[in-house]
Symmetry: C2
Subunit: 340 residues, 2 copies
């Protein structure tokens, strides 16, 4: 079997190229038989970083790219103004079939835009989507969309549900994943124009649709997949990410009030971290998939650790080996709705 | 000065009439000189509950209402099918100027619908709004709207900002409250059609508009007021409410794993509660105001404690004494936008 080739944007994220290269090394070392990794970015920086690690791995390669898209660059503008960025060069490698997947912890909007424009949408997909994992007591819930598509139509939410179900089934081995529609009440009649229409479509699909779910159900694992407009999904994802900081901040202020407080927080912290905090640490989840494009793109948090980068690479590998895109193409192509 | 008359829906909420009556008694006792409280609901139940408390307060009265709107009744249907509900009778008292304000921990949708339909909107207000307080490290942030109005237009978000600024100024004494627009990025160009248009209007207003804020900024107190469509606001409010349960649940599971775990959680719990959990306890905030109607309605959580009911009554009193509605009427009437 041919090795799966994954491009890693070595210039992506707040700790580039440090964490990107370290993550790539861990992944390449663990899977020497199945993976080829291509680090894209400033050659000198990358090779210096590689040599610092003192490892010789035959399955790591470098492709030079002179420019870098920063975290604050405009997604659309950077695509035109920086044709030789690690991002553009990396996605071009995937487009030219010299690689199977692309992984980046860089500017989310830019990675998304470049992937969609360069790779194109899968036939029948109106809007691509990004899904993010939320921790629940019972396992995992993935919310689609968390920011790829705003001002969605009902048919887009249906597509998110189809693509999300396939992802959940093949990547997380969930049989017949349940799909919830995020709304402001459980009844079919509750919601805004978009969700009332989407409810109708989802009911007529062959998905395992369990009806409307509410904001409080996201962390309770009421559905394996929750679909919503990317505006709403993005707001709750960022809200959820902030919970960790808020809790940490509160304990820090408490500890600062005196020596015994500090001692006491120190004693509790290990338990706190294991019981609650780690679940709210969204940086460790290892990237979110962009679904609906003719290619495999995994986007990571700007603060991704080397382990997060490694997890992103493994997730990309799985999407390729399990042929997730082919399944999406077939399901979207064959989708029929029951007559209402 | 005339006493302010507040109607309390004695049949509202999960613990009616118990908590409603207890809360009313605490409020009436604390403010014997300034408040008259009218408990509306099944007379026998209320008077039994009152006599259980063995207090004689001249400023508590009962008005009978034979029907009760349940938490699952349809807001619009219940208005027609239960004309003699505590909710309808109570709001009618306000409409007939026999009372100044109405307080209920009952079915939120029904309280809102009845208030809007019976009292009517303030001239110039397209959509009423409900605001909810979120705890921050630095003080308070109020989000408008959290569920009164979905499918909003940009002009509605501007109205929310005007009404919210007045509420924050007079009820929480915040000078020149800052207004943030909830979106998916900080830049003006980021957002959906609604927020991009609303950004323009807010910029042209004379409010203290600080630009877009994101989901992560809600708990960080970046703005005194954050405006958004009621769909998004409702989803994040319910999400935030669930955080408390999720954290409690995680500690419960941890404690269940063994005797020492249980002991350890028992030791930590007091600190946990004081430092973090109490801030996420949205039941204790004492109700949310419905702004934009010709009347004062405070809506409480179904699980409101007697203290929460008391706080709702005091909030209603303040809205009346500080003439919040008159200020809204004037500001909305005089609103002028700078030419763009």
């Amino acid at each position: 079997m041919d090795k799966i080739k994954i491009v890693v944007d070595a210039m992506g994220g707040d700790f580039a190229p440090l964490n990107d290269v370290s993550g790539a090394i861990i992944a390449a070392e663990e899977r020497q038989e199945s993976l080829e990794i291509i680090l894209v970015g400033k050659e000198k920086l990358i090779s210096d970083e590689l040599s610092r690690h003192k490892v010789k791995l035959k399955n790591i390669h470098i492709v030079n790219a002179d420019e870098t898209v920063t975290m604050t660059d405009s997604p659309v503008d950077s695509l035109k103004s920086k044709p030789d960025s690690s991002l553009s060069v990396g996605i071009n490698l995937m487009k030219e079939k010299k690689a199977d997947a692309f992984v980046s912890a860089g500017n989310t909007g830019a990675v998304m835009t470049a992937s969609i424009i360069k790779m194109g949408r899968i036939d029948g997909v109106g809007r691509p989507t990004i899904g993010s994992l939320f921790p629940t007591d019972f396992g995992k819930t993935m919310v689609f969309d968390v920011g790829a598509s705003v001002d969605c139509k009902a048919s887009h939410l249906l597509e998110f549900a189809v693509m999300g179900s396939i992802y959940m089934k093949y990547i997380y081995n969930v049989k017949n994943p349940s799909v919830g529609l995020l709304s402001v009440g459980e009844e079919k009649s509750k919601g805004d124009n978009l969700t009332i229409e989407a409810h109708e479509l989802l009911e007529r699909s062959n998905l395992n649709f369990i009806g409307n779910v509410e904001g409080r159900d996201v962390l309770r694992g009421k559905a394996d997949i929750i679909v919503c407009d990317g505006f709403v999904g993005n707001v709750i994802l960022k809200f959820a990410e902030s919970v960790l900081d808020v809790i940490k901040g509160k304990f820090k202020s408490y500890a600062a009030k005196g020596f015994f407080n500090k001692l006491w927080v120190g004693l509790m912290y290990g338990t706190l971290k294991n019981v609650v905090l780690k679940d709210f640490d969204y940086q460790e989840y290892g990237g979110v998939p962009l679904l609906g494009v003719n290619g495999v793109t995994i986007i990571g948090h700007g603060k991704s650790s080397p382990i997060a980068i490694k997890n992103m690479i493994f997730k990309a590998e799985e999407m390729v080996s399990k042929k997730v895109n082919e399944k999406i193409r077939t399901e979207i192509g064959n989708m029929k709705l029951k007559t209402g």
